[in-house]
């Protein structure tokens, strides 16, 4: 586990809010009023979920609509099962709408290797065949291992492999902040 001293604040709440707003605005600007009802948002567990909720709240206001929200846990779709000390906790997957012919905005807090997104794409396509799947990330930290890129990014912040980004949300961590953490143990994102 990281200690408090090994982390540095990258963004405070105000900067996070700006980043969320900019992601929301770029999504809204891309779709015609006709297509807005086709949008549906799926947040990747764990910390993509609060981001999705914030995002959808703003998009709802901007478009006077109530976009649908789902959550997705990708643990069953990981490519490293049996290669880790222990498996991550499985959180709830809940996609309470038909994804066929929809425009799915897949949402995560940090885009790093792209492996989580690869797994998420496999998982989503097991639920149906959306017209489009787009990717929104609050932070793109670089160091991709797969040919995956985000369609909507709040902040780009390229870090070396030893560093980790930790997004805290009041919903999951009691505060809104983004930290940079010096990696001490073998972590995965």
């Amino acid at each position: 586990m990281e200690t408090a001293s090994s982390r540095t604040l990258l963004f405070d709440k105000a900067l996070m809010d700006t980043a969320i707003l900019s992601v929301a605005q770029s999504i809204v600007s891309e779709y015609s009023p006709k297509d807005i009802p086709r949008l549906a948002f799926i947040g990747i567990q764990l910390r993509g979920v609060p981001f999705t909720e914030r995002l959808v709240k703003i998009i709802g206001k901007l478009t006077e609509s109530t976009p649908e929200i789902g959550t997705l846990d990708i643990t069953m779709y990981r490519d490293d099962i049996g290669m880790r000390k222990a498996l991550p906790v499985i959180y709830e997957t809940k996609i309470p709408f038909d994804i066929n012919d929809r425009i799915i905005i897949l949402v995560d807090d940090v885009l790093h290797t792209g492996r989580t997104i690869r797994a998420a794409l496999d998982a989503i396509t097991d639920y149906g065949r959306p017209s489009y799947i787009k990717l929104a990330a609050l932070i793109d930290r670089g160091m991709r291992e797969f040919p995956i890129t985000a369609d909507y990014v709040g902040k780009t912040c390229i870090l070396s492999g030893e560093k980790r980004i930790r997004v805290s949300w009041t919903e999951t961590d009691d505060e809104d902040a983004v930290y940079q953490i010096e990696k001490k143990t073998q972590g995965t994102k």
Binding site: K85, A86, L87, V89, T93, A123, D126, Y127
Partner: protein, 315 residues
């Protein structure tokens, strides 16, 4: 967040902490949803090989494990007693070592000898899942029972659970007792005195000699099958006498709370331990137990497979 499951085997609920038991149940909830989707399969165990080594016959547990393995995308080999070299005199360890030499990741074993799975777990790198070992343990059955109770009642702690029947020979009863006690339930056992070991009182189980005492106030009634095949000696005079005294029928249902769950691990001897109208009645959750068994076995296979670090030959 890293999960708390760190064991490469699932042998008995006796070995598990309340947290580990709860963790399997929580994990199973997400796996239950996989079977409710159109695509009832996830790639979690893709590239892993599972051998179902059923030295003692089984239909439902084996089918449940096999389906669970398929829904996790594992490759599967089934070995049953009749077709295995155990018939030719090969020892269990030799059979298992031969299986392991084929780079098998997990072995699901059912065996008539108590602790046969523990014996293999100590000697093999493969993960071992106990699918029933003699009268010792049947962890996935107890987990699916507890999962069903928790799903219906919302909790385990403080519930009154009565297990009725042949406790002496029952691995299902033993596993349920361990699991339920660890999670804080009050457990009562009842049946013919020859089949209900008094020793269970020492670990906090209430022992009843008559059915009525076990039924009154119970939130859950788990009826065990009268196991003809395990009774060489006569533990009670006749089946009809057992039915009269310990069978759950319309008459004895008068003592059962209207919201009590009626459970049975199957296969049911209709009209022996359980009347047909009750087995098919509104309080019965017997078929839900079967559905939940699949989810529990998917979770168990997944968690155990997740702890095989170091034996992955491709790394």
């Amino acid at each position: 967040m890293e999960g708390i499951w760190k064991k490469k085997d699932l042998l008995s609920l006796y070995d598990l902490s309340p947290e580990e038991i709860t963790y399997i149940l929580d994990t199973a909830e997400e796996f239950k949803k996989v079977s409710q989707r159109k695509v009832k399969k996830v790639p979690a165990l893709r590239g892993k090989t599972v051998v179902n080594l059923f030295v003692e016959p089984s239909t439902r547990t084996r089918m449940s494990f096999e389906l669970a393995e398929q829904r996790l995308s594992a490759d599967i080999i089934n070995i049953s007693a009749e077709t295995s070299s155990l018939k030719k005199g090969e020892t269990l360890l030799d059979t298992a070592k031969n299986i392991e030499a084929l780079q098998v990741d997990l072995i699901v074993i059912r065996h008539s000898a108590p602790r046969a799975p523990n014996f293999l777990a100590k000697r093999l790198k493969a993960g071992i899942l106990n699918a029933g070992d003699g009268s010792h343990s049947h962890p996935t059955q107890a987990l699916l029972d507890i999962f069903t109770i928790r799903e219906k009642k919302g909790k385990i702690k403080g519930l009154n659970v009565s297990i009725v029947g042949d406790i002496l020979h029952s691995r299902v009863a033993r596993s349920n007792i361990w699991g339920l006690l660890k999670l804080g339930a009050n457990v009562t056992i009842a049946g013919p005195s020859t089949l209900v070991p008094r020793e269970f009182t020492q670990i906090g189980v209430r022992v009843c000699d008559n059915l009525r005492d076990a039924l009154e106030g119970a939130d859950v009634i788990n009826l065990l099958r009268i196991q003809h095949e395990r009774q060489q000696a006569s533990y009670f005079p006749s089946i009809s006498e057992y039915t009269n005294i310990f069978g759950l029928n319309k008459e004895s249902m008068r003592y059962v709370k209207p919201d009590a769950l009626i459970m049975h691990p199957g296969p049911i001897n209709r009209g022996v331990e359980l009347d047909s109208s009750i087995a098919d009645g509104p309080q019965s959750v017997i078929l839900e137990q079967v559905t939940n068994g699949l989810a529990i076995r998917m979770a168990a296979l997944f968690l155990v497979a997740g702890c095989l670090k170091g034996r992955d030959t491709s790394q």
